[in-house]
Amino acid sequence: MVQITYRDALRQALIDAMQADETVVVIGEEVGRYGGAYGVTKDLIKTFGPERMIDTPISEPAIVGAAVGAAMTGLRPVAELMYVDFLGMTMDQLTNQAAKIRYMFGGQIGVPMVLRTQGGTGRSAGAQHSQSLEGWIMHMPGLRLAMPATAEDAYHLLRHALTMPDPVVFIEHKSLYTRKEEADLSAPKLPWGKAAVRREGKDLVIVTYSRQVHYALEAAEAMAKDGIEATVIDLRTLNPLDMDTVRTHVEKVGRCVVVSEGPLTAGVAAELSARITEECFDFLHEPVIRIAGEDIPISVSQALEAGSVPSPGLIGDTARRLVA
């Protein structure tokens, strides 16, 4: 066990993966000399050199496209998008190329690349640097998707991603980087697609991922003081989705809240709600309730920014009303 930040856990995962596998290269803006906009790749260029820590021009479409080509020809690239908000210009390479190549080519070859990026609110970074766009990715067949909430998961999921045969989108949360936690980096390889039950309770289940896991836990602790006990499930990966774990717990207690930082409409929360309802309907005392980002852009004003996404308070209030 070590005390480590989310950022350093990611960094360690890259170091260990690059040491274990010579074909791993990192390619993106400011990943080398600068050490990454959020410091995740700090000093890696000293160990691995500019041939493996490849600083690029500001060309997101071609960064992703080059990673596709590299992955098809023997490298295992980690392409980095500095902000998930830049996905918009890369969706063609990501979804029309990376995600479909194995299929279109009849299974001849895969695209074992990882697209590392970060999203979410918390830094007054404005409408174009604060989004949560995992909903777009989850919607696209062919892309695996991980969104770790803890340092330990950040480490193990990234290590795992770097052994997978298909493209993985790996979305970190910008507000978690400095979060420090106990973590076991030597634990056996975390199974991909397995949710973590962070807390168990008899009254309701909160299903969420990434930063909202911590918000949900905070809400749950507060409720516990009033005798309301919530189960908190951290999905860890959104493709695949661990419905077995979710179903087991929802069927036990019959009440469920799903939480996502992305916009409410047609996002991850919608999928969770629909799927849980379809699969657990006879066990539900109340409808599955979605808590998610407002269907609005994010403001630079701190108050408005914080107000646009779920908070421990909103999760708690909603959960209390649901079990009332």
Binding site: E29, E30, R33, Y34, A37, D55, T56, P57, I58, S59, P61, A62, D85, F86, M89, R123, S124, A125, G126, A127, Q128, H129, L264, E286, P287, I289, I291, A292, E294, D295, I296, P297, S299, V300, S301, Q302, A303, L304, G307, S308, L314, T318, R321, L322, A324
Partner: protein
């Protein structure tokens, strides 16, 4: 088009030509002073976030190119756009308030430093997406042509944006359609920590412009008069339907944004780069030419400093936008606003209870 038109060059360097240089100096001085105050706003914890990109060292591009613009012209900028907008006549207090995320700012505190815009001055918007604002000037050029407005639209962006394909798509369209458009690349040698030679093999950006069929020029940003003269010529051309591209070479004096201390560049390099100071150079030239005695300039500087100091006070005194404003402006006034989640949850949960 590489040679500067003789009449413009003559006018620029005429003795007593300080009537042109003095206002350019004043514009640049105001930009410098303002940006210093933005730094202060951050240090005082009053800014909305730390993504504040100062244009210190790049004042000549803003002052020189904007001088060549007419009132009906429009423009977009990149994330480092404070100076350009100030040169265009922005109210620095409302700018500072926006940078602080306050209601009295240009965008009611929703946009911030990277999204300042003002339709009254033809500012179609700053952009936090590198290259994101470039194609809009193609559209503005189409509007000008179709609606028979005599206006040029100017895209300002950094050297980093030369990595974005959308720049070339836009240049190609502008040339193909003979649009009144000017592309202005402020080459401050860096995109974050990446020096321009680490981002491209050939820095002669004017060659790219010509390869796509546009006028192309490169100019040294140390000399604001040179910038203004070249810009004027390209603007005249653009207004006549011959779009152009101008690269202004300069040096980014400080870090990329407020948290960046530029550890990736040597102190020597920085020291030398900061000698490329267009504000100081203009000042020295004014004194040299005798068009303005030092005392006058000092007085002007002091007046500007006072004006800019006041912008911080204004921003500090302004209030944050009310939470309820969050749901406004997603769609036009009169269109249904998004239902706030709390309202929605209340509706759903009270129904369940009923």
């Amino acid at each position: 088009m590489t040679e500067l038109r003789p009449d413009i060059r003559a006018a620029a360097s005429a003795p007593g030509g300080n009537s042109g240089l003095l206002p350019l100096y004043r514009t640049m001085r105001r930009i410098r002073s303002f940006e210093e105050r933005v730094g202060e706003l951050f240090v005082r914890g009053l800014s909305a976030g730390s993504m504040l990109h100062l244009s210190i060292g790049e004042e000549s591009a803003a002052a020189g190119v904007v001088k060549a613009m007419a009132p009906e012209d429009t423009f977009t900028t990149h994330h480092r756009g404070h100076g350009i907008f100030l040169a265009r006549g922005a109210d620095p207090a409302r700018m500072m308030a926006e940078i602080a995320g306050k209601e009295s700012g240009y965008c009611a505190g929703k946009g911030g430093s990277m999204h300042i815009a003002d339709m009254a001055l033809g500012h179609l918007g700053a952009n936090a997406i590198v290259g994101g604002g470039i194609p809009a000037v193609v559209g503005a050029g189409l509007s000008a042509k179709r609606l028979k407005k005599d206006s040029v639209s100017v895209a300002f962006f950094g050297d980093g944006a030369t990595g974005q394909g959308i720049l070339y798509e836009s240049m190609n369209m502008a040339a193909l359609w003979d649009l009144p458009v000017l592309f202005v690349c402020i080459n401050n040698q860096y995109g974050m920590g990446t020096r321009i030679d680490q981002a491209t093999r050939n820095q002669a950006f004017d060659e790219r412009a010509r390869a796509f069929g546009l006028n192309g020029a490169m100019v040294d940003g140390d000399d604001v008069e040179e910038v203004a003269a070249t810009a004027q010529e390209l603007m005249d051309e653009a207004r006549a339907g011959r779009p152009g591209f101008l690269a202004v070479s300069c040096y980014r004096f400080y870090g990329h944004a407020r948290m960046d201390k530029s550890p990736y560049r040597a102190e020597d390099e920085e020291a030398e780069g900061r000698l490329r100071d267009p504000v100081l150079k203009a000042r020295l030239r004014l004194i040299e030419r005798g068009g303005a005695v030092e005392g006058q300039l000092d007085a002007m500087d002091a007046e500007i400093a006072a004006e800019m100091d006041a912008t911080i006070d204004f921003a500090a005194a302004s209030s944050a936008p009310p939470l309820s404003s969050m749901f406004r402006d997603v769609y036009a006034v009169g269109e249904p606003e998004p239902e706030p989640l709390r309202v929605r949850l209340n509706r759903i949960l009270s129904k369940g209870a009923a």
